[in-house]
């Protein structure tokens, strides 16, 4: 079944066929949300940190061209080669040409959501380059031939027994092993060979510092470092929004990033890369891929403040109960739902509707993106652009007409409680989705309006 043909609601419906699994997925992610709460409540100035981070990022977005050029100049002075890519195609071609130039056909990659967004692995595979993902979770989904379901925890949808089965199939361990320590050690040994034999390594970028021309990569496993340190060529791919003006700003962002993501005070490794070692090459590819379009959308531009911590996913009650793959996009969850329509409004028209607008996402966001307000605004844009289903359009028009007229409203009410006819939960009368798992409210003998007329 091609997931791309189904929308979030349909994919979430499939996910919910196994309720015990939904409970497990929900509890796992809620546990991480609870760890985040515990960790941030130990920082009395937490809200001030969020506000500071938000303001730094607002400044970056308003002066992006200046900071990018400053970064380029300083990076070049450090001996890094800087490339610019306007879209996925350009980015992937640059990576391929660099690999060709160095005669490399096998590359090790550390986790990079950007290259997921740009479908780099598929592109390189088509061009005869073998890519191994070195982040443990990413490696697991790569073996399973699946995309990550979460930007920080790529294989959070997989149980340890399923991971054991994959390792049995691909790494030759005995059948039926699910001990996490054993599995991790297996992956470690397997990746060790990869690190030692790859001549090229690609990493993502968490922060690029304009004043120094260096970039910072945050991992818990040290896999970015292992890859980059042992390779002759280090390629780093970054979206244009990853810039921060000064090194001192890391003192804000590094405190926020992992507390928000997993509840840790800081990532195990926050590695600064500023220049290539003697005789080796370092390349940075700075990627637009629709970001400048988003920057031009006044109501949505501040989505570019995102530092990819995943806190909005862990807290989202819909994400926890529908799974990352239901969002059919590299970046899932609430942040994915406001980024994706910028890239393809028709394909991702369903995502802003995959929310109750509860607002928890905006509250956990370490850079204070107004995620749930943007979901509301995307709904308006998507409907205005004509991507709403016709049935919904008709029912909304009927509803608006009835509700704008007291006479029509009262008549409809008398005719058997209008809600039954036009309310949201009676959109499809034939197969009323409300009634599938919920009883309808019992209609009273008289409405409040009718009672009021008699009694006041």
């Amino acid at each position: 079944m091609n997931n791309e043909q189904k929308d979030h609601a349909a994919l979430a419906d499939i996910f919910n066929k196994d309720e015990a699994r939904v409970d497990w997925h929900d509890e796992t992610l809620w546990w991480i949300r609870a760890k985040r709460d515990k960790s941030v409540h130990q920082i009395p100035e937490w809200e001030a940190l969020r506000e500071t981070a938000s303001q730094i990022k607002n400044n970056v977005l308003s002066n992006l061209h200046t900071y990018l050029q400053q970064f380029e100049t300083n990076a070049q002075a450090n001996g890094i080669t800087v490339h610019w890519a306007s879209d996925a195609k350009e980015h992937n071609e640059i990576v391929h040409s660099l690999l060709k130039m160095h005669d490399v056909t096998r590359m090790v990659k550390s986790k990079s959501m950007l290259t997921e967004e740009l479908h780099l692995n598929e592109y390189l595979a088509d061009h005869g380059v073998d890519v191994i993902d070195s982040d443990l979770g990413e490696r697991i989904v790569q073996l399973a031939k699946e995309p990550p379901s979460h930007i920080v925890l790529p294989c959070i949808h997989k149980k340890k027994e399923e991971i054991g089965a994959l390792f049995h199939q691909y790494m030759g361990i005995a059948e039926g092993i699910s001990d996490p320590q054993f599995l991790t050690e297996t992956a470690r040994q397997h990746l060790r060979e990869t690190f030692l034999t790859r001549k090229a390594a690609l990493t993502g970028v968490n922060f690029a510092v304009a004043e120094t021309g260096e970039f910072v990569v945050c991992t818990n496993e040290g896999n970015a470092d292992m890859g980059a340190h042992l390779a002759d060529v280090h390629i780093a791919s970054m979206g244009i929004e990853k810039i921060i003006p000064k090194r001192e700003h890391l003192g804000v962002f590094l405190r926020l990033l992992t507390r928000s993501a997993t509840g840790q005070p800081i990532t195990t490794y926050s590695s600064h890369f500023s220049k290539p070692r003697n005789g080796e090459k370092m390349h940075i590819i700075i990627v637009d891929n629709g970001r400048t379009v988003q920057l031009g959308r006044e109501e949505f531009r501040n989505s570019l403040k995102c530092i990819r911590c995943g806190a909005c996913m862990n807290t989202c009650p819909v994400y926890r109960r529908s799974g990352g793959h239901s969002y059919h996009n590299a970046i899932s969850g609430p942040i994915g739902a406001i980024l994706a329509p910028n890239l393809d409004m028709e394909k991702y028209a369903d995502l802003p509707f995959a929310s109750t607008l509860c607002g928890s996402c905006s509250n956990v966001c370490p850079v204070k993106i107004d995620i749930h307000d943007q979901l509301y605004k995307w709904r308006q844009v998507i409907v205005q652009k004509g991507y709403a289903p016709t049935a919904k359009k008709l029912s909304m028009q009927a509803m608006a007409k009835t509700l704008a007229s007291p006479t029509a409203y009262h008549l409809a009410g008398k005719a058997g409680r209008w809600v039954m006819k036009i309310a949201p939960f009676a959109l499809n009368n034939k197969l009323n989705p409300w009634y599938k798992n919920r009883d309808m409210p019992k209609p009273p003998d008289e409405s409040f309006g009718e009672w009021y007329k008699k009694n006041r």
Binding site: P317, P406, V419, R438
Partner: protein, 244 residues
């Protein structure tokens, strides 16, 4: 002080008892309340579905019905938030703005404007309080678990004035119930699962009643409770504060 009582459409049609309790409670507290009989709906069902452009009729009607009152009070966080955030009228922008400024959700009107210190109500039962998201995170009726900020709760402070009431603890104090307007049918599977999980938290802690500031969340949870054959009832907070 004259208050215009705004009763959300689905409360008018399905939960008249919640509306009566709101009216009686305000009257008991000495407020002159008028219910404009030509009111219908705030327009939120269309707006949250992406059809805000179809709400001008609702906006005009709302302004016509309510612009002249000192305050507008409604037993709903969600509808009040919608009016506050989204009501607009290009022909009478000042009136729209004044409506937006003087509309209050019931519990915040009681705590902030009337500054109620005691209530003559008794409700000797175990009660679970559902924090409706639009009231809590939208109107800041109570502190949110995500923020590092001091605890407070407007609905909670009022419920604490009720004699004999026992508020039960919850594992997840402010998780969404999954109603979400059209979400409840458009994303039926997730909506129902969220509702089941929310209800289970209350049941696990021995709730006899589930209450809250929004009848929409309660209607969704009631639908699930009834389908499960549970004896647990939902009640709008006005009904408890009014002493039913």
């Amino acid at each position: 002080m004259t208050v215009g009582l705004f009763i959300p459409c689905y409360v008018d049609q399905f939960y008249p008892e919640a509306a009566k309790a709101t009216l009686q409670l305000l009257e008991k507290l000495g407020v002159n309340v008028i219910y404009p009989q030509n009111q219908t709906c705030c327009g939120q069902p269309m707006a949250n579905s992406g059809f805000e452009h179809l709400t001008s009729g609702c906006n005009e009607l709302f302004i016509k019905n309510f612009a002249e009152f000192d305050y507008i009070v409604a037993p709903s966080g969600s509808c009040v938030l919608h009016i506050k955030d989204h009501i607009h009228d290009d022909k009478q922008p000042l009136k729209a703005e004044s409506v937006s400024n003087k509309i209050y959700e019931l519990t915040s009107f009681l705590t902030d404007i009337l500054q109620v210190k005691s209530l003559p109500a008794r409700f000797p039962h175990k009660v679970g309080v559902h924090q409706s998201c639009h009231g809590q995170r939208g109107l800041h009726l109570s502190q949110m678990s995500e923020l590092v900020a001091p605890h407070f709760s407007k609905p909670g402070s009022l419920l604490n004035m009720v004699e004999g009431i026992e508020i039960i603890p919850l594992n997840r104090i402010d998780e969404c119930c999954g109603f979400g307007g059209t979400f409840c049918v458009a994303e039926e599977a997730v909506s129902v699962k969220m509702g089941k999980d929310r209800v289970a938290d209350h049941l696990q802690h021995g709730a006899e009643y589930i209450t809250g500031v929004d009848m929409s969340c309660l209607m969704h949870m009631e639908g699930i409770l009834n389908r499960q054959g549970s004896k647990v009832k939902v009640l709008h907070i006005a009904q408890i504060l009014n002493g039913i």
